[in-house]
């Protein structure tokens, strides 16, 4: 990637140097200096680096092995060695061959970055593009690539979705612009990926995040949520190099709360059943079963969390081979990854193979082929584990150590989770095959045509089996299995034309035209089986009952045309325009097409005469852009009338039945469009001691795709509408300081800070009798009733405001008593109704990261803090009425008692307490030491003896500590989710 820029410059320099050398050679007496230039990054030779005798124009460039030989004046003492993307170095001439290691310039302004359908010099970017620092990103041991982006780019918010092995996280770029999907578009080597985790971190060469419309508009459809561009490694010309990277991680539970112990739990139950007026306790034999009474008497209590969760290990091994000739370049790698989960029987195992080939057929035609093959097995633990809630008054084991099925006594429905874990299999085997071929033909030196063809096949087969002893498979069911297959097929064909007319030195112009067709299709088949003769074959066994057969096919298609023009004048004033037309099959008949134009301008102030020679200002670039992108994130078929399958039995005989589903079709559905305005400033100050970016944006989403409640009297529940407008605006800052930048000692600190303010600007336009815009109820995930209101964020909770706990002696409205939750009676009418609900934003006020990198000789240290501030979340464990009744266990909180009246936590009570939902909205802000890595590069002369080119060992601690008030295993997940872990990793990187 970096080398692409070189030829032109090198050619120029080279001819100049040749001429100079010749001239000088004739004039003075000479000596010859030889040496090798290496990259500090991986100690590989740097071909094409420039080596110049200081104070002269005499110089040369290194060959493919990084070697050079230069004739210099006999009195010359110093050489200046430079290479794009590296810090210049001055070297004293000696009589021996020199070995010069160039240090990578962290703020390489000349860096090439990948943008949509092409590359761009970083200094010439006109739009908002953030390059992710790769070494920092890949420091965490996971297959969850989204987690690698956390804190690495301003404006990119990562929310942990599923902490289980093989799990995923949600990526949110610059706030929620939509309710129908906020996932950014993932482009890997020029083709879209439906899952970012299908990339192996060891294969990644660079990651760029495109944030504003001028950067993303080229991707039009699906780009409204931003674009993440990932480029994988490719072979380089030169010797074949072989690399190995292996690591192993121990994962441990991270938590900030306790469960009630047996005695505490018994006290909770007693308190709950206490008479609320007289304070009298009920007899233990009324509120506890005989079984529980025995447990209390004997003191045999169980901490289910300790019993179930175990430390787990993870390992990863990658071998990659890279090399090539002038016409053929190959990169290939194989990775094996295996992670166990904290809950036994869960885990993820994956093997991947990657092959990237670049083949030059002749001067005009070249072909690139990228092949990606993966096979993985995801094991999920049994359902119904719920260990937090299970009463500690339990006996999980027989005296001989065998499991007891009903640990809370035969009369209690609770099944021992360890029992269910033992009696359950839930595995998903997935095979993924990607083939991508790009052929580029140079029609003229400045006109090329590329055909980009991509096909993806992902076949997933899931088998679930609950044995005849499992609580889902017992009691006459005789084993219960689910078999499911999911075939995902995608193809993409793109015709790309690049035209780069040569104007003159001052004016640069290039054009890109693309035409693209793609289809994504999922075929799903599923069936349940029960009545197994025995459990031997698991879900592969023969069953006597087949139920719930399901066949589901979902298809979406897209056709696009786009064009882009980039123009620069004097390399100071940069302009970019793009336009894209997309047609998506998911929209209504007459509304398939959407049009997305964008424009941007940048001014490189530091190229102006008044700043050109400034010592303090090295870079100062002002950018402004405006453009729109589309969102087609709705499910197919929403503009069509679809029926639900509703079979029935008459006298035991099945009849096929159907009825229109409760989603009312909307035959007028159209594109949701987000228009973004962005201004940015890139700067480099004091010899690049400080570099950074400041950015402000305002994005407005129109024709908002929204699920809207339909009156129940219609017989439908929701319909999708294009309605209203939502606005996101925010500010982002990134600052890097290179405090020390020497060959042996480097220290840098990076800060990133992002805010986003999300609010609804317009809804249906309907107003109530006072002219106030009507609020709009809609359905969230799992049919959760939610509400939108003008001026409020999308991501909200609409509930009364928690106002502490009613205390003795206060004027408490009936039927509440001291110890009950108090909420604010907003309208003061003495009753708590919907009128008293307020909107609470669930978005953070800001989030950011602080990182520091310190390297000294062979050692390097990386520390990464991640901070999320001002975020609220509802903790369902605090709103469970059963918990306050003392019927189930939960988070140990100092609840209200008449003796110890809490002002924060309510009193347990035998019937369902009121207003627990407002009480359970909690501050989930946190700061976390996400990564701490210490690495050591073993000295060259030591390892070269054993045939190694480079060797590094490192240790990493992940999620080492977290500061938060939110009671859970992770502040981003509720306690019922798969628990997040902290990890301790040891790893080795070897180069042969």
């Amino acid at each position: 990637m970096k080398s692409r820029l070189i030829p032109k410059k090198v050619r120029m320099l080279f001819s100049l140097f040749l001429f100079c050398s010749f001239y000088i050679a004739t004039a003075q007496s000479q000596k010859t200096v030889t040496g090798t230039v290496l990259s500090s990054e991986d100690n590989t030779p740097l071909p094409g680096a420039s080596v110049v005798e200081k104070g002269t124009t005499n110089g040369t460039s290194t060959d493919f092995d990084g070697k050079f030989s230069l004739n210099v004046a006999s009195d010359a003492t110093t050489l200046v060695v430079s290479f794009i993307g590296y810090v210049n170095q001055e070297v004293t001439i000696t009589n021996d061959a020199l070995t010069i290691t160039l240090i990578v310039d962290a703020n390489a302004l000349q860096e090439i970055v990948v943008v949509g359908y092409g590359t761009q010099r970083k200094s010439n970017l006109v739009s908002s593009v953030t390059s992710v620092e790769l070494a920092e990103a890949t420091a965490i041991p996971t297959t969850n690539v989204a987690e690698m982006l956390r804190g690495r780019a301003a404006g990119v918010q990562i929310n942990l979705d599923d902490a289980r092995p093989g799990g995923s996280s949600d990526i949110l770029i610059r706030g929620k612009v939509s309710l129908v999907g906020n996932d950014p578009l993932i482009i890997v080597d020029g083709v879209p990926y439906d899952n970012i985790n299908d990339v192996t971190s060891d294969d990644v060469a660079s990651i760029e995040v495109l944030k504003d419309a001028s950067a993303t508009a080229i991707y039009g459809a699906r780009a409204a949520n931003g674009v993440i561009l990932i480029t994988t490694k490719r072979g380089k010309e030169g010797k074949i190099s072989v690399d190995y990277h292996g690591y192993t991680t121990t994962q441990r539970l991270t938590k900030n709360f306790d469960l009630f112990s047996g005695t505490e739990f018994a006290d909770l139950r007693r308190e709950a059943n206490r008479d609320r007026d007289t304070g009298e306790f009920l007899d233990d034999d009324v509120i506890f079963s005989d079984f529980e009474l025995q447990a209390i008497a004997s003191g045999n209590f169980v901490n289910w969390e300790d019993l179930i969760l175990e430390n787990a290990t993870l390992q990863s091994h990658t071998v990659s081979v890279s090399g090539g000739t002038e016409s053929t370049k190959i990169y290939t790698s194989a990775n094996y990854f295996n992670q166990d989960g904290l809950i036994p029987s869960s885990g993820f195992e994956r093997g991947t193979f990657k092959l990237n080939i670049d083949q030059k057929i002749n001067e005009k035609l070249s072909i690139q082929a990228n092949i990606n093959y993966q096979t993985s097995t995801q094991d999920n633990e049994s359902n119904s584990i719920g260990f937090i809630s299970i009463s500690p008054l339990a006996i999980p084991f027989n005296e001989d150590g065998s499991l007891i099925r009903k640990p809370l006594g035969e009369n209690h429905f609770q099944i021992n989770p360890l029992w269910n874990i033992r009696e359950s299999i839930n595995e998903t085997k997935t095979n993924l095959t990607d083939v991508n071929v790009k052929g580029t033909y140079k029609l003229m030196p400045n006109l090329s045509y590329t055909l980009n063809a991509f096909s993806r096949n992902r076949n997933a087969e899931q088998g679930i089996y609950r044995t005849s002893l499992h609580s889902n498979g017992d009691e006459g069911i005789d084993g219960f299995a689910t078999l499911a297959t999911k075939l995902f097929r995608e193809y993409l064909v793109e015709n790309i034309v690049n035209y780069n007319p040569k104007l003159n030195e001052a004016n640069n112009l290039d054009f890109t035209f693309v035409h693209a067709v793609s289809e994504r299709r999922t075929n799903e088949t599923k069936i349940d089986k029960s009545g197994f003769a025995n459990d031997n074959l698991g879900f592969n066994g023969t069953a006597t009952v087949l139920l719930n057969p399901k066949r589901d096919i979902v298809r979406r298609r897209l056709v696009s045309f786009l064009g882009r023009a980039r123009y620069s004048y004097l390399d100071k004033y940069l302009f970019e325009f793009s336009a894209r037309a997309d047609a998506s099959s998911v929209f209504a008949e007459d509304n398939k097409w959407g049009y997305f134009p964008a424009g941007a301008f940048a001014w490189k102030m530091h190229e102006e005469p008044f700043l050109k020679d400034s010592e303090s200002i090295n870079e100062m670039k002002f950018r402004i852009s405006y453009g729109s992108t589309g969102n087609e994130g709705i499910d197919p078929q929403e503009s069509l009338g679809v029926s639900d399958d509703l079979p029935y039995v008459f006298g035991g005989v099945t009849s096929g039945g159907f009825a229109a589903s409760t989603r009312l079709p909307n035959p007028n559905l159209q594109w949701e469009t987000t228009t973004t305005f962005n201004v940015g400033l890139d700067f480099g100050l004091f010899n690049n001691l400080f570099t950074g970016t400041l950015e402000y944006y305002k994005a407005s989403t129109k024709d908002f795709l929204l699920d809207r409640f339909v009156p129940g009297i219609t017989g439908f529940s929701v319909t999708r509408f294009n309605i209203g407008e939502v606005e996101n605006k925010g500010f982002e800052a990134t600052l890097n300081t290179n405090i020390i930048k020497k060959e042996e000692l480097q220290w840098s600190v990076g800060l990133s800070y992002s805010t986003n303010d999300n609010k609804v600007v317009k809804l249906t336009g309907e107003v109530d009798e006072f002219g106030v815009p009507l609020e709009l109820p809609y359905t969230g995930p799992n049919f959760q009733p939610l509400r939108l209101a003008v001026g409020e964020p999308i991501n909200n909770i609409w509930l009364p405001q928690f106002d502490g706990i009613w205390q003795e002696g206060e004027d408490i409205p009936d039927p509440l008593r001291p110890g009950d939750v108090r909420v604010v009676d907003q309208d003061g009418d003495g009753e708590i109704t919907e009128e008293d609900n307020i909107f609470t934003s669930l978005d953070p006020d800001w989030f950011g990261s602080i990182t520091t990198t310190f390297s000294y000789k062979g050692f390097d240290l990386f520390v990464d803090f991640y901070i999320v501030e001002g975020v609220k979340k509802r903790n369902p464990f605090l709103s469970n009425g059963e918990f306050f009744k003392g019927s189930i266990n939960g988070i140990n909180i100092p609840y209200y008692t008449p003796e110890n009246p809490s002002t924060v936590y309510p009193r347990p009570r035998a019937d369902t307490a009121s207003q627990l939902f407002p009480f359970s909205i909690r501050d989930a802000s946190y700061s976390r030491l996400r990564t701490l890595t210490l690495g050591y590069n073993i000295p060259k002369d030591f390892i070269s003896k054993i045939g190694l080119k480079n060797a590094k060992i490192y240790g990493t601690a992940t999620n080492l500590f977290t500061v938060t008030d939110y009671l859970s295993y992770s502040p981003e997940n509720n306690p019922d989710a798969f628990p997040d872990a902290k990890g301790f990793t040891f790893g080795v990187k070897l180069g042969f």
Binding site: N411, N495, V642, S643, S655, G715
Partner: protein, 533 residues
């Protein structure tokens, strides 16, 4: 490789692809694995399966297992015969839920009921309109389809009217165009009853008295419902005509023995309409917790383990209260509470844990309902209170709360009792007593020699308790609030509710359910809420 060849090929490729994708067809959206609504309501085959879909939607009510399966039993909990001990379900009968515009019960359950019945109505409207316009269907098939849809529509509107009072009726199916036409006012009682009567009269004229497909609406069930509509309007003559027609049809008769009425799949001569289930069969429906909710948790007592003889798995949320138990005890020979409809006593069956002095087979009598000690009477209610066996799935494991069994909705015993009331009101006491005593004698109870409204209500309580009709019957007679105030729950337990004794909470306006706030907000701004909310 010749240069010109590549050049040509590329151009050719570009052009082909451009042409290929220009096709509108490529972007055309189509259903690949779902049945389209067009097919459903515009073809004879589609309409047949759309009618089946209606039965399936109707069954959906009983398969709701959230809130510990409270949804299908709400009317039972709210009746004057229920003892509401625990669980979400009990909160309805205790008047803690479902009494305000937006409390949890209203938002959850009442909203669900509202949407559920209107959904059935809209799909029935679509079927009726579709069948009237469809080509290539013979009249008999067409009229049967329309008749079944009209039965379901009438039953749904009648249920909605009796629950919510201020309802809006339409016979137009919903379309994307009319979905947001918000009604400004409720429909009048006259409009509602005109539609109910015409729908049912059409069904009676076009359905056979019996069906080979057990579970479908028949002329008999349509007439039974027609009689219920008639008595609501105090049209005693019509009610008498309809009940006589069913009773004298020769196709239906009372089961000789009360023990058999709810046995097995209910496919017997007394059943007029039942919700259909079949274990492990596609379309066989899901489990319910109705039995589990209404049988005591007797196995908590020493010496007892769960058994089908004791009523299977029970949590004892809502069971029989003292009022109905005393009614059942009125005639000592009445066998309806002798483990046929109701279980009065649970039996010791676990030799390993028997308390001292007890034998297997003895009646469990460890706790005292009338003890002044709350702990003691709590134990009685939880472990010993008489329960209901009308939902018991004899094929379920004794420990399994998931029951899958046909659910009785309308049966001939009720037809007899409606007939008795209608004839009594018509002054035809002889037939009235004959019908009343047919039900009594079948239960081994002594025949009555006189009849009045109280006696009819008492008999209905004994015979039909927990079948979901009681609350409607009291409302129809205008005595709902009075009866609830006098009889609901059990005295000593009512006083332990921290939310207050429901007999003092009950108010006149609660005879109508509130229209949930989330629903009324979606209607026109002037749409009337029920008085009192």
């Amino acid at each position: 490789m010749k240069k010109i060849f590549n050049y040509k090929k590329s151009i050719w490729l570009v052009c082909t692809l451009f042409i290929f994708v220009s096709c509108e067809e490529f972007l055309q959206e189509e259903l690949l694995s779902d049945t389209s609504v067009d097919f459903l309501y515009n073809t004879p085959e589609g309409l047949e399966s759309a009618v089946v879909g209606l039965y399936s939607i109707n069954r959906n009510l009983y398969e709701q297992t959230w809130w510990n399966g409270a949804i299908p039993l709400i009317l039972q909990s709210k009746s004057d015969l229920a003892f509401n001990r625990a669980g979400e379900l009990s909160l309805f009968g205790r008047l803690r839920w479902g009494v305000l515009l937006n409390d949890t019960g209203t938002n959850g359950a009442y909203n669900w009921y509202w949407s559920h019945y209107y959904k059935m109505i809209d799909r029935a409207n679509a079927i009726i309109q579709g069948a009237e316009n469809v080509q290539g269907i013979d009249d008999a098939q067409k009229n049967r389809i329309i008749a079944e849809a009209k039965c379901i529509r009438a039953n749904s509107y009648f249920t909605l009217y009796r629950l919510y009072n201020n309802i809006f009726i339409t016979t137009e199916p919903t379309t994307p165009e009319n979905a947001f036409d918000k009604p400004e006012d409720k429909s009048s009682e006259e409009e509602i009853f005109t539609l109910l009567k015409s729908d049912l009269d059409f069904a009676i004229a076009n359905l056979e008295m019996t069906t080979v497909e057990f579970g479908r609406w028949t002329q008999a069930s349509a007439r039974h419902l027609r009689a219920k509509v008639a008595v609501w309007q105090q049209d005693w003559a019509e009610a008498a005509t309809q009940t006589d027609a069913v009773i004298n049809s020769g196709s239906y008769s009372l089961e000789p023995n009360t023990k058999d009425v709810f046995k097995g799949g209910l496919s017997r001569s007394e059943t007029l309409f039942a919700i259909q289930y079949e274990r492990d069969v596609i379309g066989g429906g899901g489990r319910n917790f109705m039995n589990w909710s209404s049988v005591a948790n007797y196995a908590l007592s020493p010496g007892v383990v769960k058994s089908l003889d004791n009523g299977g798995s029970g949590a004892g949320f809502v069971m029989l209260n003292s009022y109905v138990r005393n009614l059942l005890k009125e005639d000592p020979n009445d066998d309806r509470d002798d483990s046929s409809y109701y279980i009065s006593y649970y039996k010791f069956n676990d030799p390993a844990t028997l308390p001292a002095g007890k034998q297997v087979g003895d009646t469990v009598d460890l706790y005292d309902q009338f003890s002044p000690d709350q702990s003691e009477f709590n134990n009685y209610y939880r472990r010993m209170n008489p329960g209901v066996l009308k939902f018991l799935d004899e094929e379920a494991e004794a420990t399994d709360r998931n029951h899958i069994k046909n659910i009785m909705i309308y049966r001939l015993a009720e037809t007899y009792l409606i007939g008795a009331e209608a004839h009594m009101m018509n002054g035809n006491t002889g037939t009235a007593l004959e019908y009343l005593n047919a039900v009594r004698e079948r239960a081994n109870a002594a025949p009555k020699t006189e009849i009045d409204q109280q006696l009819i209500l008492d008999e209905r309580a004994r015979e039909l308790a927990f079948e979901g009709q009681r609350w409607f019957t009291l409302k129809r007679m205008g005595v709902l609030t009075e009866y609830l105030r006098d009889h609901m729950g059990n005295d000593n337990f009512n006083q332990t509710y921290s939310s207050g004794d429901p007999r003092t909470i009950i108010q006149e306006h609660m005879e109508n359910w509130p229209i949930p706030e989330s629903q009324i907000n979606l209607l026109g701004p002037n749409y009337p809420q029920n008085v009192g909310y």
